[in-house]
């Protein structure tokens, strides 16, 4: 089952690599192997045989989700820290798969987000053809990942570009209105060019999961509703001065969160009604953090906050008659 979830992300990973280059490949390779290695280490320490547990592919999925969430070029020590937090702290400390209170990949992401803000906001822009960006060669990219320093003559400022979410945030901060900000050539139909294509393929993978019955519709629909409803209302209220629903859905981790992250069966609410509350909460918190917070994206924090609320949600959403069962 988890293997199929991983496979559903492969088309999106290929498109991601097409737009963003080798960094995605580095990320996927480092994250998956590190997560598997940390899982094996933890299991060995617990005197369990690692192989049967590793065969459930859950560590692979955590690694893959982290690879999607982290910036495409990231020094290896940051990536390894994220993997260690995800597997050792969020998963194995709680007793391994099936017992984690928080989504492991998001714990890893948030831990490095608050610890390495500069590295975590260094994004290379997507290949777009008509926009001329400085693009380091393969070996220089690899050197950066291994050492954390761009080799001469590249500098951080020359190489990195603001993501669409960053651009909107700094534009709004400088009292521009969204309609003006959108005229920048990096924006496409809804989100950033390139970015929205990755979103399309993630949604395609999500559609496959729904079709195969691997996830229920409640969480993706309610996460999207949690983003779309407030974003539309807010945008209408100020006549387009802030981003509307289309931009929010196709930017950042909204689609990845709705289909692949929030739907983690262990850390999500377990009853249909509770799932609707859980998903809507994630969408709403993520939109709030994007709109008023200091971080450009809020999906990861929103997932962790709603994970905290899951036992409470489960308690109140259980079918009648089992509400007080131990």
């Amino acid at each position: 089952m988890i293997r199929e979830v991983c496979l559903a992300l492969v088309p999106a990973a290929i498109v991601y690599t097409y737009f963003f280059g080798w960094g995605v490949v580095f990320n996927v390779a480092i994250c998956i192997s590190a997560c598997v290695a940390f899982e094996a280490l933890a299991l060995t320490l617990k005197q369990q045989a690692p192989l049967p547990v590793l065969a459930d592919y859950s560590a692979c999925l955590t690694g893959l989700l982290l690879a999607f969430a982290l910036p495409t070029y990231l020094p290896i020590y940051v990536t390894l820290t994220a993997c260690a937090f995800a597997i050792l702290v969020a998963k194995q400390a709680y007793g391994g798969i099936g017992f984690n209170l928080f989504n492991p990949a998001m714990v890893g992401y948030c831990a490095v987000m608050v610890s390495f803000p500069i590295e975590m906001s260094t994004w290379l822009p997507p290949f777009l053809g008509d926009i001329d960006y400085v693009r380091p060669a393969f070996t220089d990219q690899l050197l950066y990942v291994l050492t954390g320093d761009w080799p001469a003559p590249y500098t951080l400022d020359a190489v990195s570009q603001a993501t669409p979410l960053d651009r909107v945030k700094s534009g709004l901060h400088a009292s521009e209105i969204f309609i003006e900000i959108r005229t920048n050539p990096v924006f496409g139909d809804f989100g950033g060019r390139g970015w929205e294509w990755i979103g399309n393929f993630i949604a395609l993978g999500g559609g496959y999961l729904l079709y195969r019955g691997l996830i229920s519709w409640h969480i993706p629909v309610s996460v999207l509703a949690g983003v779309v409803i407030p974003a539309t209302l807010h945008s209408l209220l100020v006549s387009g001065a802030v981003p509307g629903a289309g931009f929010h859905v196709f930017s950042g981790a909204t689609l990845l969160g709705a289909f692949f992250i929030a739907t983690d069966p262990v850390s999500a609410a377990s009853h249909p009604r509770g799932r609707l509350v859980y998903g809507f909460g994630i969408g709403l918190i993520a939109w709030s953090i994007r709109t008023w917070g200091g971080y450009p994206d809020g999906i990861a924090f929103a997932v962790l906050l709603m994970n905290t609320a899951v036992p409470l949600i489960d308690r109140f959403s259980k079918p009648e008659g089992t509400a007080h069962a131990a």
Binding site: G95, L101, F102, V107, G294, F301, L304, T308, P311
Partner: protein
């Protein structure tokens, strides 16, 4: 209001510990009872936070208005809170809300003391007006209560045999509280 979140984040660290302590002193509590205690604890937090801020603001603003009296703020706050806690405790006993759990209530109130000191000490000087200070500490108290209840509900998830022996009990409670604080950091910058 930035401090609003700080109070909640820092209090998350002690929430579960105290709750676990309250429950462990009487192992016969089931989930339902524990949840009920958490709800009462949350309600008491809110009441004490509101009442002690309301009482402490005039003390700070008028009684300790002299420029050299800043050093008296902490003792004065402790005095005010201690009185408020005693009054609340008596009131609760008189309406027999907590008859069976007197001893646990005492433990809980001890905890409340320290937290509420935090709320009052942080917010009283920051708020310019009496109503502001009440509103802010009310919000902090409510947030704190919500976390208390959330932690009570999560207790079954962090007390089971699959957790590595070395991490059981207090250690995993601390890890959980730390991760909750991490999640709350997402709100950094919401209030400028």
């Amino acid at each position: 209001m930035q401090t609003w979140f700080m109070t909640i984040v820092s209090s998350a660290l002690i929430n579960h510990l105290v709750l676990a302590h309250v429950v462990r002193t009487n192992p016969s509590f089931d989930d339902h009872q524990q949840f009920a205690i958490a709800l009462r604890l949350a309600a008491t937090t809110l009441i004490v936070a509101l009442a002690s801020t309301a009482a402490n603001f005039p003390v700070n603003a008028w009684l300790l208005a002299a420029p050299d009296s800043a050093f008296l703020r902490t003792p004065a706050a402790i005095l005010v809170i201690a009185s408020v806690v005693t009054i609340v405790q008596r009131f609760m006993r008189s309406v027999s809300v907590m008859t069976n759990e007197k001893s646990h209530l005492l433990t809980a109130l001890l905890w409340l003391n320290s937290t509420v000191i935090g709320i009052v000490m942080i917010h009283t000087p920051a708020a310019a007006r009496w109503l502001d200070s009440i509103w802010i500490s009310g919000a902090a108290g409510a947030g704190l209560g919500l976390l208390t209840v959330a932690f009570a509900a999560s207790h079954r998830h962090i007390e089971h045999d699959n957790i590595p022996v070395a991490l059981r009990g207090t250690a995993i409670a601390f890890i959980t509280a730390g991760l909750v604080s991490l999640a709350l950091l997402g709100f950094t910058g919401v209030v400028r």
